[in-house]
Subunit: 335 residues, 2 copies
Amino acid sequence: MPRRSSGRVTLQHIAERVGVSKITVSRALREPQRVSETLRLRIEEATEALDYVPNRQAGALSSGRSLSVALLVPSISNSVFSEVQRGVDEGLREAGYQVLMGHTGYSILEEERLIDIFLAYGVDGFVLSSTRHTDYAQRLLSRSRLPVVETMELTDTPLDINVGLDQRAAGRAIGEALIAAGYRRIGFCGARLDYRVQQRLAGWEDALKAAELSTQRCQTTPRPSSYRLGGELLSAMLERWPDMDAVFCCNDDLAAGALFECQRRRLDVPGQLALAGFNGLDITDATWPTLTTVITPRRTIGEQAARLLVKRLQGAPREPSRHDMGFEIALRQST
Amino acid sequence: MPRRSSGRVTLQHIAERVGVSKITVSRALREPQRVSETLRLRIEEATEALDYVPNRQAGALSSGRSLSVALLVPSISNSVFSEVQRGVDEGLREAGYQVLMGHTGYSILEEERLIDIFLAYGVDGFVLSSTRHTDYAQRLLSRSRLPVVETMELTDTPLDINVGLDQRAAGRAIGEALIAAGYRRIGFCGARLDYRVQQRLAGWEDALKAAELSTQRCQTTPRPSSYRLGGELLSAMLERWPDMDAVFCCNDDLAAGALFECQRRRLDVPGQLALAGFNGLDITDATWPTLTTVITPRRTIGEQAARLLVKRLQGAPREPSRHDMGFEIALRQST
DNA sequence: TCCAGAAACGTTACCGCTAACATGGCGGCA
DNA sequence: TGCCGCCATGTTAGCGGTAACGTTTCTGGA
């Protein structure tokens, strides 16, 4: 008993039109050199004439490979990750893979849910943007035996491939840069407080402690980061520590928001207060004054993740590895 | 001859463990009320014990529904679309659908490619963020008979469902607002020049012509929008039309960039030059001075798109419709 | 001339799941 | 008691592809 026929054009339709078997059509489309020239042309013509769209689900079910990869990012609106996404996308597209993106909202539970979903979709690999996962997520991943790239931060215990930068070292470096520039009463302001932000904070503390400076000027909140929040945090800090001469903001959004607040208060930057951000988003190079920041190689991280993943997808053996992509301090007008 | 068994846990494994047939397991998971209480519990237990992950590809292949929907946006880094995405995602998740996102880079050819790909993945519907498509894309969509929502802008000839706002009317409204505020030598600056920007420009011209003002102060470029570009365009405009007293930027990024350029030039905003943006991104409410803009209901558009799509996915009949979600002029400090 | 081997295409049997129909058992009612 | 109908579960036959192996035809060298 035939089920409702979806009206969809299948290999069978093309095969009948051309007068061959469907496996031949399948071959003509996937391995053209294995089919005779004339037949291949006739099949191509029929394929176009019928507007054939292959059914990847069927193909994946049969072959065990879906030619797709899941990319999980914490946030879509955060342009930090859109850069990573581009790198990943570009690298994987070249190799014939489609990237399916999900966003976790900075929650490892949501990450777990997405891993489950994308496993159900039969992806061939994962690019994650963190090194922290739930136990169940780790079990699912290791059980699946799929290649996994953990990005953005570095870890001593990678699940598989790890591509990122040393967030703590970067935090320390910007702290040292501020100290070198002569600032002594340096504050830290952080939002969201995910693991990466905590690492940056730890690095900032490292730098200040090494210079025997006080690390008390530290204002944090679990609220998500935004321009306005940058202004609010800065206001609170100025109230608590009026003598502060510099602030390292855990990301560029906060730094820009803090800068706007300074403008509102007619506070001269960097004359009365120096500001530094983190990531090197476009805005840091556009504001007046331009913002000192830590430029993170997001695009490169994405590309490298893609490159290593493709190697594994094409059969390279699994061997846990860690790739430090570094960072760069950009001293600009705000310090 | 058995093919390589993937090590994957299937319904069959659970069925054997519990001692029933796999269709019963399938039912227990999808329609729990159709299976006896005791059996259901045993099946649930086995499912958890084995970390069963269903194979959606197989399910979709068999049932003809994948419970997934494609959302195509022009750009991921543009936060305008991340808001739309959230609305869509939320609405569809409630109904049990997974959103698969793709980005077209503002190219209808890339959109066509993605439509082809997502059809191959067997999505059950599309949310597009434009009303302009290639002929082939339109053919594919109409052939597929899948529900399609075209968002962001309005059209007189929707493929199916259309949810958006009247970009031209919005452009006209901000033009009129500037005129009402007393400005007479009003410029327009636009980047990318996609269809929506062209509509805003047309609206701006409508307003100026209606007030018998010159529309010559118009600076455009096909380059993608960015903060820096806003500064560059403004510089060029100030050079060509030193008498200009207000500028409507086609989006908030340009407006913010223009504002930064004014700060750099020590040009008082709004005293010497008024600025207006478009979209109502967070930044417009954070800068100093805050930026006048047109607030577009991006989140609402996404939610409404999801709501209408779900209705169709659940069987509502197809009837082309157009939904104007409006906009709001936010007069702030920059004018 | 003969035969091995490659090239070109076909047959069969699945991948994992579900729609549709089939079956057996039990309660309720005339 | 007998029959109807429903509830819980099973059987069969695919969905649209592809892996693996088979068959036929062609080619060329001993």
